[in-house]
Symmetry: C2
């Protein structure tokens, strides 16, 4: 599908708009559900463009004041004024300089805080092997990452929940298609011709860059580092950022020349921008004659199977098919860590529906949800995302139809149940120029993280585009049928040339005139009929002859005829929720990360506040001290947990229990069982650090219930005796 | 790793040997666990080579008899004998001809039965969308298949169980690495240079074929279709089949020429065989200067991460890492349906272990298992696979070590719990010529299906080969450390050239002589020391000088010195179980498929006898007749099943209940709930067709327990009232 193209093209607009609204939703305090004193959590610096503009104004004022005071000091010195007078003037100058520096710091500070927060998260993720740059011992490959053991477990949990929440709950037809895809399929989908980014090359070294990235970096750099920009220049650069993705290759090239942008690494001049196809190309079979690509998305595998899947579903609409799998994009120069990579896991749903009936039977189940939505109108008016009841958005037609609304609601539930902060999640509608011409409506679930608002799920009503494209290319009709309970009489216009008369009049040209007549639209034909009836003849342009001929009344009959039809044949519309699993997981890491001081207060400890559902390990089992009896109890509990299918880890190292808790918190393990006697053990909850005492035999079952959500921690806390230990957090 | 190469090369040997032993294990009756009358199940025709040889002898005898009798008839006619006499002779001739035809049928019949059985399975699989040829509307691509909804569910269940059985139970470190792999990694592993098959081209059209396949087809075709072969020719062709994979490109080419083998489609002559690399090649990034490949296996991603994973495991051995993911192989001409494809899912384990201690703490848990094993010795002696207690195989050293034995046992449990028939599963040891020089031992789990014995899991002790290869190429030492509890004194040989004497003797050549001395092995140095001590000087070849020099006693000291070492540094051995998931699933389809007559006896109905664990859907819910009350009950039960996480399907079509059961049996759904009242429902078990009556409120929980294995069907059968219905199977 071409939406990614479109998305790539328009991302900057979205970001520019997002920036202006970031403060409203992001300044809301990130409250910990258990009221933990948070030492380090993530809040955006107030960098909304309004605040930004006022800071710039203050800075300009302050600069003028510093200059004026500097002149005053020089004048005093030159005039030989008294020392106390000069000293006072210098003191005033220094005060002004301090104020100026403080404003500069505010202006630059937002991004510094983000960077520091991100660095803290990423350091923890890399150190604990949530992910690893791929092929690290060979110095890696940009845009390729491995999930290490805890990251892999989180991913597996996210996908497991996705299957439960979407495939199982909705009875979707899941398929699993290959990544290697022949050219014809991606030719039909448009990817071969249009799935490109504009690239420039270092004229001397040949190093490649994305043209829009260079221009964007230039603008952002000027805006954030060059404090002397006047407001006209600021406006110009901001406008450029907002329209960056609308620029043609020629326009981009002109801007790069105008601003004198050079290759960042070498300062060499750059080539003109030209399109680079983002698909990894390969060759299928040994002949070298069958080009193929690594799929850029999983959706095409579903579309080409539509006919079989429709049959499998008893030739009934609506139904949804789903696929989880790898997709590939040969980025020109990957950046933004785990957010823009060359290989990633997509989970896509194609919900096929009668275009005349986009209602959804389960829509009422989500209609009462209320969350941040950012409709097109609000974006255009420069407003920010607002909490809107889904029911209102659908009933007012802001969301195009019930089925689209249903999926928006389901996506909201999916993301928030994973642990995404609902205050940093919004559904942003595509602007008119972001959508492909065929799309009926499109919303992105965007999650705010240190990189800004990131598109993580796209939910689009793509109308009949994809099925039609494959019908046309393959010659296999990908259509649905609606059988009428009784045949319907339909009226249609029939154009019948009278061959004998036509032959006499047009001789060798007869065929082309006949074809032109038959190709008329209903309106054209009715117009002709009217003229023929009133005037007896009409001038008629035959394009294939390149001239006009005269059609007389006796040459053609045009009339409405009634036919009986037994069924309606139509191409279904498709509503497509498409999930970038890696992006969701990265945002989840940022949203669940916090630090808190160690008990001694000399250290900041990292915690991932994962819900049990996604936690890589549900439970750790620790013997309090190294002791054979305790270790046997730990093994016994471990065995019960394995039998119950609860992923856990046993840690028998002699490290202090506080350190072991810290290690486990840093992996986001929600519960820890500590064996401190042979009859009962303690269970500790990660975020509250509260502990209860439970009999050895009951430990595994309590862990199972509380980690699978059959029981809340509050209930466990209310049921079992509390345990407090001075040693628990040293 | 190169093992796949090795495997490809030696497959024919294995098959040739397998054929001779097939009868022993395959003739064992495939008993249905529930004693169902089986109309169509799969048994190999008795095509052991012994039976085969005796049939060929009978056929030759019969042919001679037919010829003799024919001559007799002609002689009688020529001599003008009486009609009754001639008629009697003709009758005898016809009888002989019938007998000959019958023998021919027996000789050819084995493969026909297999083909018919396979066709029945494959038809069902395709019709019910277990799988679909990929990109079918574009006429597909050889070797690429989609899993449709039920196939996808089976695959997901198999992988889920794999994770539970291996990763969770053994606390393995699961990782998830990209498919796109830079050249350097696969250069180090040997794939770039050696992962090839020999290919020939149609000299006129350029169509490509695998050289060994053409020769194999030729041999098999002659053996099975040409009934006039004498025993010498039969032996020659069989020997060729057995040694096919040992042939060099030149030898293969010579055989193709000798037998006059031509391109099968065009009958054109063929090119000489030449190697074709089986990896899909691509290019990483836009420069075109970074070649990459789609990984041919997942294992390399684990090896390159060894250092991080070892650290993650607390720098302790042994530990295992695991990965599930897609792998790619650009087959020259894919065949054997789902068994030899261009893209497939692998699940691989790399268990890293101290080469000096390959014991396994959990080995006793599997040591008492007993199953078909096929050690090297038995294969060489032309015997067949035998049931051997694992304990004996390990203790006698037939299986190289405990850890390898442990994994063989675990693989046996995994496959049989999935539903693989234990009588058609054997563990075959690699012959000496099948194994890479570095491998300590290697066993394949082979499953017998209509294509013969298929390698589905490889379990190899690959010693330190892979880690060493990446250490060498990357310069990053992939090693483990064993800290000594107290430092150990070790003796080593030290060679110290006396520079002053050397300088005087060799002047400008001094450096090269010194280097050559220092490069001596321990043995060479000790030999030199002995000669110097006895004779005072020695002749010494310095390769870099291209000549011999005279070393005198005063020029070098060679002596053993004692050093204290605090740790042992070594490259771990790796034991690798590698699972071809698609192959296992295909064999599972064949092993669980059977047909049984419909109640009316006019039809054969297909059933997949999937264990609940792998069944794509655990349960169907049917209202007995179309009726709003029943449908509401059905929806209620469906909702409870969804909440319990049990995949199911509701079928409210008005089709007869018998037909709906048949549809559900064909998908391998183990249980069906039929709503025939508003207070209670029936639950039917697929294979026995037995039904019990259960209260509506209890239905979902009973289904959950019995499909998750907390309760057996026998127990359900003993607990609830039985239900018999005449309409249940019409």
């Amino acid at each position: 599908m071409l939406r990614h193209l479109v998305r790539v093209r328009v991302r900057a607009i979205a970001i520019a708009i997002a920036t202006s609204s970031a403060s409203s939703s992001s300044s809301s305090k990130i409250s910990s559900p258990l009221s933990i004193p948070l030492a380090f959590t993530f809040r955006f610096a107030s960098s909304s463009s309004m605040a930004d503009d006022s800071l710039r104004k203050s800075l300009a004022d302050k600069l003028a004041a510093v200059e004026a005071q500097g002149n005053a000091v020089r004048a005093l010195k030159a005039s030989g004024a008294a020392k106390p007078q000069i000293d006072a003037a210098i003191e005033a100058l220094n005060a002004l300089k301090l104020e100026k520096a403080s404003i500069e710091k505010s202006l630059l500070g937002g991004s510094d805080t983000r960077e520091a927060f991100r660095q803290a998260v990423v350091n923890t993720l890399e150190r604990r092997l949530f992910y690893i740059p791929s092929f690290k011992i060979y110095r890696g490959v940009a845009g390729l990452f491995d999930y290490g053991p805890p990251g892999c477990a989180v991913k597996s949990n996210v996908l497991g929940f996705w299957r439960q929440h979407f495939v199982l709950e909705e009875n979707m037809l899941e398929v699993d298609c290959p990544c290697v895809t022949p050219e014809v399929v991606l030719k039909a989908s448009g990817h071969v011709d249009k799935f490109t980014d504009l690239m420039v090359k270092d004229a001397a070294t040949g190093t490649c860059y994305r043209a829009d990235h260079l221009l964007k970096d230039f603008c952002n750099d000027r805006l954030s580092r060059d404090l002397s920009l006047d407001s006209a220049k600021v406006a110009e650069l901001k406008h450029l950022l907002a329209t960056l993705d609308d620029l043609s290759a020629e326009e981009l090239g002109a801007k790069i020349r105008d601003y004198g942008i050079v290759a960042p690494d070498t300062k060499n001049p750059l080539s003109e921008p030209y399109p680079f196809n983002l698909m990894f190309q390969t060759s299928i079979g040994p002949s070298g004659l069958s080009p193929g690509f690594m799929r850029p998305e999983t959706a095409q595998g579903i579309f080409v199977n539509f006919k079989d899947l429709y049959y499998y579903n008893g030739n009934k609409l609506p139904f949804a098919a789903a696929q989880i799998g790898q997709a590939f994009r040969n980025e020109i120069s990957p950046r933004q860590g785990l957010l823009r990579v060359r290989e990633f896991t997509l989970a896509e749903i194609e919900h096929f529906v009668d275009p005349q009936d986009k209602s959804h039977p389960k829509y009422p189940e989500v209609a009462d949800l209320e969350f941040l939505m950012f409709p097109r109108e609000e974006q255009m008016a420069g407003q920010s995302a607002k909490r809107i009841p889904l029911r209102d958005a659908v009933s007012k037609g802001v969301v195009n139809n019930e089925t689209l609304g249903y999926f928006i609601g389901r996506v909201y539930l999916f993301l928030t149940r994973l642990g995404i902060d609902k205050d940093r999640l919004r559904f942003r509608q595509h602007l008119a120029n972001e959508m492909a011409h065929y799309a009926a409506d499109c919303w992105d679930a965007e999650i705010e993280c240190s990189y800004g608002w990131i598109e993580c799920v796209g939910i689009a009503d793509r109308s009949a585009y994809d099925l039609r494209a494959h019908s046309d290319k393959s010659g296999v009709p990908l259509v649905a049928h609606e059988k009428f309970s009784e045949p319907k009489e339909v009226e249609s216009l029939v154009i019948t040339p009278v061959k004998k008369e036509m032959g006499l009049a047009f001789k060798g040209n007869q065929r082309m005139v006949v074809e032109a007549l038959e190709a008329m639209s209903e309106k054209e034909a009715l117009d002709m009929k009217a003229v023929l009836e009133s005037k007896g003849e009409v001038e008629f342009l035959v394009c294939t002859l390149g001239k006009t001929v005269t059609i007389k009344k006796n040459m053609v009959t045009i009339q409405k005829e009634k036919k009986k039809e037994h069924q309606r044949v139509f191409t279904p519309s498709v509503i497509e929720p498409s999930f970038g699993i890696g992006r969701i997981i990265y945002c989840l890491f940022e949203h669940t990360f916090y630090t808190r001081p160690s008990k001694a207060g000399d250290e900041q400890l990292n915690v991932f506040r994962f819900p049990s559902l996604v936690a890589p390990i549900k439970c750790t089992v620790f013997p309090l001290v190294q002791n054979q009896k305790y270790e046997e109890v730990a093994k016994l509990i471990s065995k019960s947990l394995t039998a119950a299918g609860i992923s856990h880890k046993i840690d028998t190292t002699g490290t202090s229990i506080g350190k072991r808790y810290a290690r486990t918190d840093e992996l986001g393990v929600p519960f820890a069982v500590t064996v401190d006697s042979t009859s009962s053990v303690t269970i500790r909850e990660r975020d509250s650090k509260d502990q209860v005492r439970v009999d050895v035999e009951k430990a595994a079952i309590v862990i199972k219930e509380v980690s699978e959500g059959q029981r809340t921690w509050e209930d466990v806390w209310a049921t079992f005796p509390h345990h407090s230990s001075t040693s628990a957090d040293d």
